[in-house]
Each structure stands twice: as structure tokens, then as C-alpha cells.
Symmetry: C2
Subunit: 163 residues, 2 copies
């Protein structure tokens, strides 16, 4: 079956999560985080994210990638810095010629936790259950990435939760 | 002498300009723009910017790169999209292991036009004169990129304008 990757780009930590369809359900394939050294210059940090993401994309060979749309950042400055990490993630997707999809935070939360205003911790708990995982990844960067991958898979296949 | 590149990243048009020190002055080496097809998906657009920038960096082999710091974007949404293009530009600089510098718009304008509140058109005219160009590039993306390269060269070398 085809893998789908969700990516949660961040200037400090970028999370990724891979899921696939298994019979009538959606299952966990893999996930992780890419952490950058905040003391390193920005070009090095972005190059590190790109290098690691390229490896992840090669390893899981996803056919589609989903990223959460960020439509409200705290302020333009943080939006700009976040945008830089997103740009690198979207570039990696583009270079790998993987189809790219975006979902709003509300859509992701609704598809995973049933309501668009769910807390991040609820999303984390629910995504673990939905993907049949014995333990839930410790970081929200990882569970958020799995959530957006799950959201996309649900949209594409129509399996899983009824909404 | 060593080349310095200035890059003005944008979601539609990315400008670049290369200058070098020549005796006691700073001279024009080359410049251009990278235009993306707005109809193409974002991953393809970012991959196009990256591919073209990589070629430019290989062609001019700059030792240092300067980008204008953007500290006031119109709104978080446009900051995010601009950030994506900036991320790709800074990544290209990082992968090429070129030293990276940022200058505020005020610093760039002051170093080129003498005042931090100069208009873009004044900057364009002045940069043409300062670099001894017979004709000024038609787009402000290009002249802005030359201006930030000039600003950096001035900072590093102390030649040129007294401020």
C-alpha cells in the first residue's frame, strides 16, 4: 500500500509521521522529529532540516505529503521564521515530486478528535488510538504530523471516522 | 577579487545581484531575476527557485551572501509565503557553504541612498551610479538585490560612501 507523510515544520523542531491504508483502516508506519541546533547559523539549520527530510522521504517513499496550513501566526516575525522552515519542507516535497496537500488546523483536529477546537493533547491521544499504536509518540510535533497525514488519508479514502 | 551576492527572495520573483570590490570601489558583476509560474503548485515553484539559485551560486561563486531582513510584512499570511521563498534562498546559501548576512531595509537604503527612508526608485537610481552601470536593471527585485550586496560590501570593506 502507498504511504502518506504528514510534516509539521518548525524553526526548532520539524515533526513527520507516515501512515498507510491497511484494509479498511489507517495504520502507523513511522514517525520522528528533526531537531536543529539553535546555536548554529540559519543557513546550516535549514540545510540540516532539508538533508534529514530528504532521507525520510527516501526511506518511506510516500506518494503524497500533507502539511498543516498556518493561517494565524502570533506575529509577522514568527510567521516569517516559520515560513522559512515550511519553505524547505515544501521544497523537499517538490524535489521528490510528491503530491502536496494542505489542511487547516481545524480540519486536522476535526478529522482526528471530532471537533475543530480540540486541544493538542486530545489530538495526540486520539491519533494514537486511531492508528492502533501501543504507545503515543512523546512529542506533539510528531503526533501533529501523524494527525495531518491521517486527515489527508481520510479525505482521500473516505475510510475511518464518519463526520 | 571575491564576489558578494545579494538576494531579494519573493514568492513570485526572486532577484539577485553580484558585486565585487575593484581597487577602491565596488563594481557590478551580474544580476538577474528568477520568476516563478504562479499557476504551478507551490512545491514546484520553490523547487524552481532553488534550482535556479543553485546555478547562479555556481556561476558567480560568491564568498558571502546578503539578504534583506524583513521585519514588517503586511500581514502574517504574506509573511509566511514570503518566508517560504526566503527559506529556500537561505537553504541554497547554506548548502553552498557561503557566509550569510542580513541587513534591515533601513540599513540597505542608508548605505545606498544616504537615508533610511529612501524610495525604491531612488535606491535603483543610486545603485546604478554607485556601481558605475551604464543602464540600471529594469526591475526593483534586481536593484534591491544589488543594493543589499552593496550594503554588505560597504560594511565589510569600509570603502565608498561616508555615512
Amino acid at each position: 500500500m502507498s504511504n502518506v507523510i504528514g510534516i509539521d515544520p518548525g524553526s526548532r523542531v520539524t515533526g513527520y509521521g507516515v501512515v498507510r491504508r491497511d484494509g479498511s483502516g489507517i495504520v502507523y508506519v513511522g514517525s520522528g522529529i528533526i531537531r536543529v541546533d539553535a546555536k548554529k547559523p540559519r543557513p546550516e539549520r535549514l540545510a540540516h532540516i532539508k538533508r534529514e527530510l530528504d532521507l525520510v522521504l527516501r526511506k518511506y517513499d510516500p506518494v503524497e505529503a500533507a502539511v498543516e496550513e498556518v493561517f494565524v501566526a502570533k506575529n509577522p516575525k514568527s510567521a516569517l521564521v516559520l515560513g522559512e522552515a515550511r519553505g524547505v519542507a515544501i521544497l523537499a516535497i517538490g524535489e521528490a515530486e510528491i503530491d502536496f496537500f494542505e489542511y487547516s488546523a481545524r480540519e486536522v483536529k476535526r478529522s482526528v478528535a471530532g471537533i475543530g477546537s480540540a486541544h493538542k493533547s486530545q489530538v495526540a491521544t486520539m491519533i494514537g488510538k486511531l492508528l492502533g499504536m501501543k504507545t503515543v509518540p512523546a512529542t506533539e510535533d510528531e503526533t501533529d504530523a501523524l494527525a495531518v497525514a491521517f486527515c489527508h488519508m481520510l479525505r482521500m479514502s473516505g475510510v475511518g471516522r464518519s463526520m
